[in-house]
Each structure stands twice: as structure tokens, then as C-alpha cells.
Symmetry: D2
Subunit: 262 residues, 4 copies
Amino acid sequence: MKNTAKNKWSIILGGSSGLGLATAKKLAQHNFNLIIVHRSRRSDLEQITADFEAIRQKGILLKNYNVDGTNPEKRTEVIEDIKTWIATDTIAVLVHSIAKGNLKPMHSEIEKELEHQDFTITLDAMAISLYDWTKDVVKNKLFATDTRIISFTSEGNTKAIPNYAAVSVAKVALEAITRNIALEFAPIGIKANCIQAGIVDTASLQMIPGYERIKDSALSRNPNKRLTTPEDIANAVYLLTMEEAKWITGTVIKVDGGESLQ
Amino acid sequence: MKNTAKNKWSIILGGSSGLGLATAKKLAQHNFNLIIVHRSRRSDLEQITADFEAIRQKGILLKNYNVDGTNPEKRTEVIEDIKTWIATDTIAVLVHSIAKGNLKPMHSEIEKELEHQDFTITLDAMAISLYDWTKDVVKNKLFATDTRIISFTSEGNTKAIPNYAAVSVAKVALEAITRNIALEFAPIGIKANCIQAGIVDTASLQMIPGYERIKDSALSRNPNKRLTTPEDIANAVYLLTMEEAKWITGTVIKVDGGESLQ
Amino acid sequence: MKNTAKNKWSIILGGSSGLGLATAKKLAQHNFNLIIVHRSRRSDLEQITADFEAIRQKGILLKNYNVDGTNPEKRTEVIEDIKTWIATDTIAVLVHSIAKGNLKPMHSEIEKELEHQDFTITLDAMAISLYDWTKDVVKNKLFATDTRIISFTSEGNTKAIPNYAAVSVAKVALEAITRNIALEFAPIGIKANCIQAGIVDTASLQMIPGYERIKDSALSRNPNKRLTTPEDIANAVYLLTMEEAKWITGTVIKVDGGESLQ
Amino acid sequence: MKNTAKNKWSIILGGSSGLGLATAKKLAQHNFNLIIVHRSRRSDLEQITADFEAIRQKGILLKNYNVDGTNPEKRTEVIEDIKTWIATDTIAVLVHSIAKGNLKPMHSEIEKELEHQDFTITLDAMAISLYDWTKDVVKNKLFATDTRIISFTSEGNTKAIPNYAAVSVAKVALEAITRNIALEFAPIGIKANCIQAGIVDTASLQMIPGYERIKDSALSRNPNKRLTTPEDIANAVYLLTMEEAKWITGTVIKVDGGESLQ
């Protein structure tokens, strides 16, 4: 994969904010064209349009689809549309940055408790959708002969956190799906990895009950004395798209400044 | 938990064959009364009836419900029925032995490939149902003040195996759910653990493509030179129901004679 | 292994205090005779003598050797002495509870820093000695045909803790040695496991700088709202000596009331 | 860390063959000057001299010390010598590629068995020496303000392999030391990681009994259908020296083409 080639595309699912947007900016610096799938509210569109325009200024092409990437019909529509314009270009990178988890306690006298459907919805959006996209892009023969698939997990993969069961389940599911993608799609040149991010102060984090405590705890644990930034994660995504990373597949890589060490 | 008490009950989900049936026999030897939920075909009923009768001969009570334990209406019916007869007795053990996984490749030119729904169905049956049952039994205040929840996982929790992605995902999901149950239901006396079984030569195994190769490989890897038996696993379940196991919670315990070591 | 047999012996290395002593008491209740190897100061001997006498009152035999169990000559002497009196009895359990770790920072302007020798001393005492004892007892044909080897590890196996590097290294080394013992001694009936204890308020803990903070943190994390006791661990050792545990080998089992979950 | 700077040095311990030599070549391409510590036999020196000369042709400086890097006196001598010529340059990368493990069975009627000393020697060379070098280079204030320490581990970190106990122990020890280095040296800008290499067909591998079987098994397991090469690992080392990797620390990263997945 030559990163300097103008005809390499990266799909970023969830690329209008947080880790996804930072990744878009970083990959654009390294000459990837971008297909960004995002679900954004009208009130955020002005900012997002400006962000995308700034990325285009770097001299790459950016196509965006403001649709729900977890909806199968929308996924089909996006892929069909891509086929109308992509010609002989290929997609060399797929980044999954969809965060849509339901946070509820398993057991409470006062709060609404986690239900079967909370697991299903969270798993659909945060885990199984990675397989759905991978399979459809493969079927439509849009991937390059050397493709990198990258998604994001968290320390919730081994820890239990109150209210966080559905997201924890989605994260371990995402990792298991990644392992099987790395195994079963290897014959067609796909490498798949998860990046385990430290605590990042994003909009998603701020919706978690106890958000301030989580932030403070991460700060005090981190031997490098700051939280993880979206740019830290985007940097790691970029490393995994490089030629030198082609033998790394089926793994979970911690990018947290050592936060999970203690 | 006094194991000698006649009024302690164990629910076994999937208790008419394999690991579940072996567990029923073992717990009956140690004076647990049994509620067995199983989904059995007419052709198997004669054998199952005989098995259950033999268990009753050990002097314990055995109630069985031949229904689909993963169906929410059936679950409600079973629990409502239990309430009609259980009086002041309590349920001190919940064993989850439901195996219903869809085995398909992620990528194949010739076979039917894994679909979104395969993940959903497998996750519902093999993972989320553990939470559904736990929550409903808690809500109906049927659990003892010291309760043990035990479910079964496999080496698919860290390994990728062709065709096995949906089951791998369900196993890691089950483990994550178990960790959160151990955390969030601790205040009401619940301990929850997974047993990671070695390869057992059950009906479920025999449905996996490449079954003979899996068996041979497990045999040759196992330093104790045999496959895992349902009785090995039932023994470990019994250990986890003992008074001495009350500080073990939120863990995955390998019971495989060392098969996963190499 | 019949636990009721009077002629089964358990060696406990480090059996005069903490986890080792609690284990001695528990195994004595279940009719194990005991060989206790301990290194005790003169000032502690009165208490230890009383503890051992109380154990003997349970009707089992207890032999104790007040020697440094990590010294190879002393090990040879103890084993030679055992051979003079054990006749046709066998050793069915070996418990390793030797804690002798050097706690120093890797990097400090003011404190003495960790040196090469600190690793060597800690590894010798807390890890390699398990192999030394196992090998020598095997060579002298003193083990039963079904033997259980049990040792103790901690969350330091995956976490980095300031000042604790040498002990962390010894713990992962102990676990790796245990895995190879489980593999390579399987043909002669040995099963080997580690118990990962939660924070126990022992003399060893009290020597760690920041001891109070470690205790408080463990308490606040533990979903079962107390620290781990020596008796919790002794209970788990007992479970691993039972007939029903014979298929559990080469594993690390957490016994911490869920403390490591979050 | 600007990789283009001429005044950045990398120390490579064990840099005359295998992973170390491949790493030297890769880092030289990216403008690192090299200090190579190696213990080479006279018969290999002609080849090694040619290799080093070829590296120098890339336009970087290469200093080599043919001494036993695990010997404390030699380590002191090398560091003292470096101080005589390094002036204001700094060492920004330390790569540990020392392989010197004793391979013996734990239990055998016919072969020489593993002894206490085999563990000690292997741990000294393959694990503790990483700390020794780190500490001494820190004490002599030779590290850059942003330094990357990289060492090599293997699947022996979780697997038990006959004859391989001492190396397995050294690998888990190396990983634990790396975690504590990442934690305790973070305040002075050090990041430390291990690369878990797949099976590489090196001289070290060829000394393992059963070498052909290990190679065949790795090949058949690897979804990307080849063994790992020294260049694969050198590529990953290079990634970890990049500016973009600065938030990755305290981790183990698999670089094996997916070999360990199944």
C-alpha cells in the first residue's frame, strides 16, 4: 500500500466527531481520500461541514454520507452509491468508530434497569456492524488487495463497570469479530485489529453517569499524566495503515499512555 | 449454603443432555432439588424421562419444563409456575447450559455465509439469556441469600476458529455478562462464574464441521491424554456450589485437564 | 484421592503464618496430615507452637521443620528426614506459600533503587523454589499417584505497581512454572494450579510502602465489601485438593470476591 | 523524536543476527545511528563485519561492541566508552534482542533435566538484563527526553511447551519488567513495549528440539500462510520508534500474521 497514492480510499464509520474525526484528519495528511459515514444532528452540521472543508483543503477527496451506518438499507445505499463513482479506485482502510451504547444498571430499585434489547441494540451498533460492513464491501469487490480494518475497544473488555454491561459485551464481541475477520478474510488480504483506547474526553464519555470520577481516576492512574486524546488514537490508526504494519493482524493494541497498567 | 438442606433448589437451563444433565446428576447426589428447563424432541423424551427418573431415585425432587428457555414468554411462564409450588424454598444455584449456535463461514464462495441474524440468534440463546433469567428470578425474589450462577464457555473465547465466529462472540459476551452480574448483583448475595470446558464429545460438538479433527487435536494436545467429560464439568460446578467457593466470583475457570496449555 | 485417608500428607512451604497457616488448619479439618516448612523467628515460636498444637488436636499428624525452605541444602535435609519416617505414606498435596520479595523503586532520587540481585532473590524464593521442591519430591518418589500442587499469585501478574516490580516478575514466573509443571509432570499424576488472591491483610502486606492505601483501595473496589481473608484462600486450596478438582490443572483461579473486576 | 535527525542513536543488544540485525538495517534506513552490542564467535565475524559495513553505507554511524551484554562489567565498559564519544547526542531507542535460553525437560528418565540454575541463567540474559541496561543508561543520562524501549517476547508467554519452561518464564518476566519500566520511568520520557513475534526461522529456533515440527505447525496455523520474518519484526520496531507511537507504552503487541489466532 503506497500511502502517497491519490487513489486509495478510507471509509470511516462515525467520522464526524471524536476518534473518527481525528482519524479522518490524520489520514488526510497522509494522502488518503475519505468516505465518511456519520449520523449527525442538524444543529451540528455547520461545524461538521467546516471540519470536512478543512480536511479537503489538505488536497484529498472527501465524500460524506449523513446516514445511520448501522441501518442495513442505508449501508446498501451508501455502497451502491460508492460504486457509481469509485471507478478503479479501491478502499484500503475501513475504520469503525460507531459508539451507541445503552448505559443502565443491571439491578436497581430506582433507575430503569438494563433489558434484553439494550444488549441487542448496543451489539448491533458497536460490534456486529463491523462484520456487516466488511462483508458488504468484500461482496462488492471494493477492497484493495492489502486492506486494513481498524476498530476501537476499551478497558471495559476485561473490567466490569457499573451500568456499562452492554458496552462491555459489545467491546468483547467486537474483538472476537475482529479475530475471526483477521482469520477468515486473510486469504483476500485483509488485516484487522482493535485499538484499545484509554479514557478520552469525548461527547460519548460525557454521557456516562459518573463521568467526572472516571476522568479523574484515569488521570491519576496514567503514568504519563494526561488523558488520551483523539489524536493519540488517530496516530495509532495511521501506524496500522502503514506498509510496515502489514504483519500485525488479529490483535488488540493498547494506546493509553500506560493508563491500564495500574 | 448448607448442601444437605432439602429445600435448596438448582435451576438448570439445558439440563436434559450433555453438561447440563451431568450437572443435574451430580447436584442431585449432593441433595439439591432440581428445576430442569430443556427443549427436547419427542424422539428423545423416552430416554430423558428415564434419566430424570433415575435422578429422582437419589431422593431429591426434580421438576422439569420442556420449553424453549430462550423464549421470554416461556421464561415468564416457568417462573410463574415455580412460584405456585416453591413456597418458602429458594433457588441457590442457576446453571446455564444452553448451546444453540449458528456455525457458518464469514467468507466462502460455496457455503452459505454468516449473517447478521446468526450473531443475534446465537447471542440471544448462549449469552443474553443468562442475564434475562438472572434478572427475572431476582425480580421474583426466588434466589437464596447466597446464590451461585454458573455458565459454560470454551477456548473460543480467545481463539478464532473458522465457522465459529458467532459462538466465539457469544462466549466472550457470556463472560462479560457474568463479570457484570458478579459486580452488580453482589449486594444481594449472587456469585457468578464461567467454567471454560475442554473439548467434550457431546451432540453439540458432533454438529461442528471438522468435528473429528477437533477431537483428535484436543486429544493430542491434552497432557492428561483424554478428552474432557461431562462429569469433569459437573464436578467443577459442584465445587462452585460449595460453601468454600463463596469468595470465588466474576472469574473464568478452566476445566480441561490442561488441554489449553499448548 | 480419598480425603478421609489418614495416610495422606500435605507439605506446606511457609505454613506458620498467613495463607499457609490458614491452609494448614483447613486441610487438617479434612484429615490431611501435615509437613510444615517454615522460617520463624525465635520471638514468634511460642505462638507458632501453640498454633501447631491446636492443629494436632484435630487428630492429624503434624511435622514441622523450622528451616529456610529456599535453601537447597535445607531442602535436601528435610526431604531426607521425611524419608526416614514416612514409610508407605505419600504426599498428595504441595502448597507453596513463600513470600520473600524485595520492594524498591526502579527509579528514585532518594530511595535505594531495585538491583539485579533483588530480582534474583525474589525469583528464587517466590517462584523457582516451587520447581525445586516439586522436582526433589518427585525424584524421591514421595508423591501420591494423584497429587495437587497449589501456589499463590496476585493481581501483580498483570498490573504494574510502583516498587513492586520484583514481586510482579516472581508472580508471572511462578504462573509460567506452574503451567509447565502441569504439562510436563502430568504423566505422573500431578495437577498444578495458582490461586490469585485478593488483597489479604497479612504481615507481608503490612511491609509494603503505602499499605493503608492499598487496603482502602481494595476495600472500595470489592463488590462484596470486605478484604480477602486467609480462610477464603484456604477454602479454595481445599477445593483444589478434592477428587472433584482432578481435571483442573495449569490454571490461575481468582479468589478475591470480585475485587479485580473493576 | 525526529527520525531524520542525525544525532539520534539506537542501542541494539544482540544486533548481529536475527531480529536484532534486521532491526539495525531498518532503523539505519530511517536515519538512526546505531550502537550494536553483540557476542559473536570468531567464525561469524567476517559475515558480521560485512553486514555492518553494508549498514554504514546507508549513511549512518554504526559503533559495535563485541562483548557479552549480559555481563555487568562489560555493560559498564560499553557505557563508559559511549560517554567518551557521544558528546551531546542522545540514545532515543533501546532494543533488547538477547536470546540465550536453556532448553531442557522438567521431567525425564533419559535427558538431563532443567535445574535451578537454568532458570537463573535464562532470566538473567533474556529478562533482567533489560532492566540493568535501562537503569545504567538512565543513570548516565544518555537517554533522549522521548525514548522508546522495545524487546521481544513469544507465544511462550501464555503457552506451556515441553523443554521450554525456562524461556517461558524469562518471557513473562521480560513483559512484567517492561510494564514496570513503562510505569516507573514514565516521568523521564521512557516508553517501553514488547513485540510478540510469531515463529521466525532463526538460528535460535533451529536449536530447539522438535524445530521442524514447530515450523510446520506455525505454517499450517498462520492464516497468512508464511512464517514471520526478521523484517516483519524490524518493521514493527520501526513503527514503535515513530512520533505517532508515543502514546503506546506498557503493552505487548503481536506481530505474527495471525499465527496465534488459532
